[in-house]
């Protein structure tokens, strides 16, 4: 049954908008306090080196320097994942990648801090390094950390191989035997950076009594609090973390890189410390996503039915153990209803910066490989790419390639919308190709806390704990208004600091609108229950005889009496006399987020003279369950698509033989700019998620998954040659021609 909504689906101006267009919004680097120091971090110039000694005495002697720290200033932490995070923030014993922090200085000015870095003497003993995933996985490769190899693996892989996963069912070999055509290909994708425009920044103030204040740009200030409290050995309750406005994250701000360093410097100096990463530091030392090497084999019958599918995914995630290839192995074949399927994945360490999530982490590269082979099969068997995908599409009741059986999902609807769209049948110009790809993301739920107050003037305040990265304060206010039956502008939502509302997981996994939404609806229910009781008290009837309709209490049933409805504002106005303030709150861990599928169509034109690929037309279809604020849902789809285009065509970490990053800046690491692109047409599909009262699935990540293969399939058609590695930058295309 389709629900009718009053507020959901409208496009109000976002509540934080005015501050953001007038320059008032406070981002990570925008806060200053009296007496604060400025910090700088010294970083390793080597990809792998033993730190023989560090002499900080000259730096400490420089006038204006108030504290210098190295890895020796950090005591060990018990939890090994937190220890890796700490050792990524500040090397202990060995520098594991070019850009790895080895020391830090706090001084009265930025200039003096920078001068002091030059006075720190570090003696390195250079060790051999490994950058490529296949080389790092091969026996005999230099091993980053001993004793962390995945237990079930044998001697055919090196000790850098820290994870192994396998998902699937049936027997792919049986499926290949039944196929009319089998194609197996090997693909490589480069490491790419999230590329948020705001570098990591924080302002830390930690006293000797263990009481601290931390202001930072993060996707999760509770995560920051817990990790920093562990690393600094202080109580979580004593460290109050406030999330600044966040200038983009895309997964890259779901960990800490500088906060423990700033806190330690502040503790040592006894003063507040501001630490802001340079763009070069962001590229060299904050997490890019994984690079990948992948084998995909798919068998297909003449009529387009997939008979068997197998993927082997090898991801490198940098200098520490990590777990992310699992997501790729789970996502690879999620779009299809398959009898025989297996996807295996290996997590591998290299001498690169420690990876961190990037929008749908692990999925884009796996799906790129699968959807490229799908395209080649369709070409070979002369099949329509959308019809073939429709023939194999996962739907409600499909046992997914990674285990669970799908509930209501919208892949068929997205494919049918793509097929019917004028884009799909538009004529193609010379040197132009049209690519299609499906994409998938899980979406998550997770822990969440919301506190709602009904004010005496009939307005509502809502405090939630998830940094707003793309307009979530608007969507949460809308859901609160819808649930309470009041106008959108009666609600103000703020992101509370860690001392003002209960724990919330990080803003990731496309979880905020889903999980905070559920908590908001439940908080509203609690407030409504209380308001019904107040009305019952005023009317002197049973609370059970009062119901909430259109933002007002009204009597229900035969014997309740004949009272006119009493609005939220009327009940709130007398709340002081009827029992005190009215509020609602909810803490929970909703887990019924709905998976989301997307289908992208792209026309690319390749210039045979230069190898430059131009995006001529782009249409992105995505099932979002329910679009709360459609304009911001469109924005997520458009932004994700463009990040995927960058991944497909230009973006890559380029290392020299010496293991040093050669393009640590926006000039040489080229993210898409306005002139690279046409309009991106988003098409919202709404197949409600049965696990959310309003049908919300989550919409942030799916859109980065299809573009890699969509663009690659378009290029293959345009030039008649298939590329098996990303990015397809002009020199690489010219070479292929």
């Amino acid at each position: 049954m389709k629900q009718e909504f009053k507020v959901l689906g409208t496009r109000p101006i976002r509540p934080d908008g005015l501050d953001k267009v007038t320059g008032k919004a406070m981002f990570g680097a925008d806060k200053s306090v009296t007496g604060m120091l400025h910090a700088r971090i010294l970083r390793s110039p080597h990809a792998h080196a033993e730190i023989v000694s560090i002499d900080t005495s000259k730096a400490e002697a420089l006038a204006g320097v108030k504290a210098v720290i190295t890895g020796d200033d950090f005591a060990d932490v018990e939890n090994r994942w937190s220890r890796y995070t700490m050792q990524n923030c500040m090397a202990q014993g060995r520098a594991l990648y070019d850009g790895h922090a080895v020391a830090a200085v706090a001084a009265v000015s930025k200039t003096i801090a920078a001068e002091a870095l030059k006075l720190i003497e570090v003696e390195y003993k250079v060790l051999s390094h490994v950058m490529d995933v296949d080389e790092a996985m091969a026996p005999g490769a230099p091993v980053l950390h001993e004793g962390v190899k995945a237990r079930k693996l044998g001697d055919d892989v090196s000790g850098n191989t820290v994870g192994y996963y396998s998902f699937g069912h049936g027997d792919p070999e049986k499926g290949f035997a039944a196929a009319d055509e089998v194609i197996e290909r090997t693909f490589k994708t480069a490491a790419v950076h999230q590329g948020y425009i705001e570098p990591h920044a924080c302002l830390a103030d930690l006293g000797s009594d263990g009481k601290g204040e931390l202001w930072c740009s993060t996707q999760g200030h509770y995560m920051v609090r817990e990790v920093c409290a562990e690393i600094l050995h202080i109580d979580a309750s004593q460290l109050r973390v406030t999330a600044s406005e966040i200038g983009g994250g895309f997964g890259g701000k779901t960990t800490v890189f500088i906060e423990p360093v700033a806190l330690k410097l502040s503790q040592k100096a006894g003063k507040p410390v501001k630490l802001v990463m340079s763009r070069e530091d962001v590229f060299r030392a904050s997490g890019p996503t994984m690079s990948a090497s992948m084998d995909v084999k798919i068998g297909m019958s003449k009529d387009g039915k997939i008979t068997g599918a197998h993927a082997k995914l090898r991801y490198q995630g940098g200098a520490f153990p990590y777990q992310m290839v699992m997501m790729g192995a789970m996502s690879a074949f999620a779009a299809y209803d398959l009898e025989h399927v297996q996807a295996e994945g290996w997590d591998v360490m290299t001498n690169r910066p420690k990876m961190i999530s990037y929008r749908a982490p692990g999925a884009p590269m796996a799906v790129y490989a699968v959807e490229s082979v799908m395209d080649e099969l369709c070409q070979k068997l002369e099949l329509d790419p959308i019809d073939t995908r429709l023939l194999n599409a996962a739907k409600e009741g499909t046992k997914s390639s990674y285990g669970p059986t799908f509930k209501a999902i919208g892949l068929v609807e997205a494919l049918e919308a793509a097929k019917a769209h004028p884009h799909y049948s538009a004529p193609l110009a010379p040197n132009t190709g049209r690519g299609v790809s499906c994409g998938f993301w899980f979406n998550f739920g997770g822990q969440v806390s919301v506190s709602m107050a009904i004010n005496a003037d009939g307005t509502v305040n809502l405090i939630e704990g998830n940094p707003d990265i793309g307009g979530s304060r608007a969507s949460i206010s809308m859901m609160a208004a819808e649930a309470l039956g009041i106008e959108f502008d009666r609600v103000r939502t703020i992101v509370g600091d860690t001392a003002s509302v209960g724990f919330s997981d990080v803003t990731d996994g496309s979880r905020v609108t889903f999980a905070v939404g559920i908590a908001t609806i439940n908080a509203a229910k609690a407030a409504i229950k209380e308001m019904c009781q107040r009305a019952a008290k005023i009317w002197e009837i049973d609370a059970e005889a009062v119901e909430w309709v259109d933002g007002a209490a009204q009597p229900t049933g035969h014997n309740a009496g004949n009272f006119p409805p009493m609005s939220l504002a009327e009940i709130a106005a007398t709340s002081g006399k009827t029992g005190g303030p009215i509020a609602g709150h909810h803490e929970g861990a909703p887990d019924k987020a709905g998976v989301s599928f997307g289908v992208h169509l792209v026309d690319v034109e390749v210039d045979p003279e230069t190898g430059f690929t131009a995006i001529k037309r782009y249409t992105a279809f995505q099932d979002v369950g329910k679009a709360i604020h459609p304009a911001y849902v469109e924005g997520q789809i458009q932004g994700g698509a463009v990040q995927g285009i960058g991944w497909a065509l230009n973006e890559e970490y380029i290392y020299g033989e010496d293991g040093r990053l050669q393009n640590a800046g926006f000039l040489d690491y080229r993210i898409p700019v306005a002139s690279d692109l046409p309009m991106i047409e988003p098409v919202i599909i709404e197949v409600p998620n049965p696990g959310h009262p309003f049908g919300v699935r989550g919409c942030g990540e799916t859109a980065i998954v299809p573009p890699l293969a969509a663009v690659a399939n378009g290029v293959a058609q345009a030039i008649g040659v298939r590329m098996f590695a990303l990015p397809m930058s002009p020199p690489k295309i010219l070479k292929a021609l």
């Binding site: 976002r14 007038t22 925008d30 705001e198 200038g247 983009g248 763009r279 700019v673 002139s675 690279d676």
Partner: protein, 160 residues
């Protein structure tokens, strides 16, 4: 090194400050004048987040020395419109939902205003090339370009 005394005009007000000889205008604006609307996204002139105008000319303030502001007229996002009276560009960006994180937005507004001063009726392509120096990682630029073009239409006194 002794500091340099600079007299300039920022957002219509006469301003004096002392700065280091090698201090960039962006740091002067942010650290000395408390105008944090301009952001440092790269420090190398590649991202446009620090865009301001000097005597009407669009510049990356991270590549201009504070001392060069002497006797000039500087405009930052804080000087464009106000909370009570938004510039059409600001209003159209909001109405088109043309910002997500919003960190590039001040630079986009300054740059787009400079575009419309030079070319009140830009084509989509002209707007895209002018704003190619302003990186946005969130939006894919679609809604930004639409907002700029519709603000231009309004400013020309035409109906959208």
């Amino acid at each position: 090194m002794s500091k340099i005394h600079v007299t300039t005009n920022v957002n219509g007000d006469s301003v004096e400050f002392l700065c280091e000889p090698d201090e960039v205008l962006l740091d002067v604006l942010r650290d000395r004048l408390n105008l944090t609307g301009a952001k440092e996204g790269c420090g190398t002139g590649d991202c446009g987040a620090c865009s301001v105008t000097i005597d009407g000319r669009l510049v990356a303030s991270c590549l201009v020395l504070g001392a060069e502001a002497e006797g000039r007229v500087i405009e930052t996002v804080e000087g464009i419109g106000s909370a009570k009276d938004l510039h059409p560009l600001q209003r159209h960006l909001l109405e088109h939902a043309a910002l997500q994180c919003g960190v590039c937005t001040p630079g986009i507004i300054v740059a787009a205003k400079a575009l419309l001063a030079e070319n009140p009726d830009p084509t989509e392509e002209e707007a895209r090339y002018w704003l190619a120096g302003n990186l946005c990682r969130c939006t894919g630029y679609d809604k930004i370009i639409r907002a700029v073009l519709s603000a231009a239409t309004e400013m020309r006194g035409e109906n959208a």
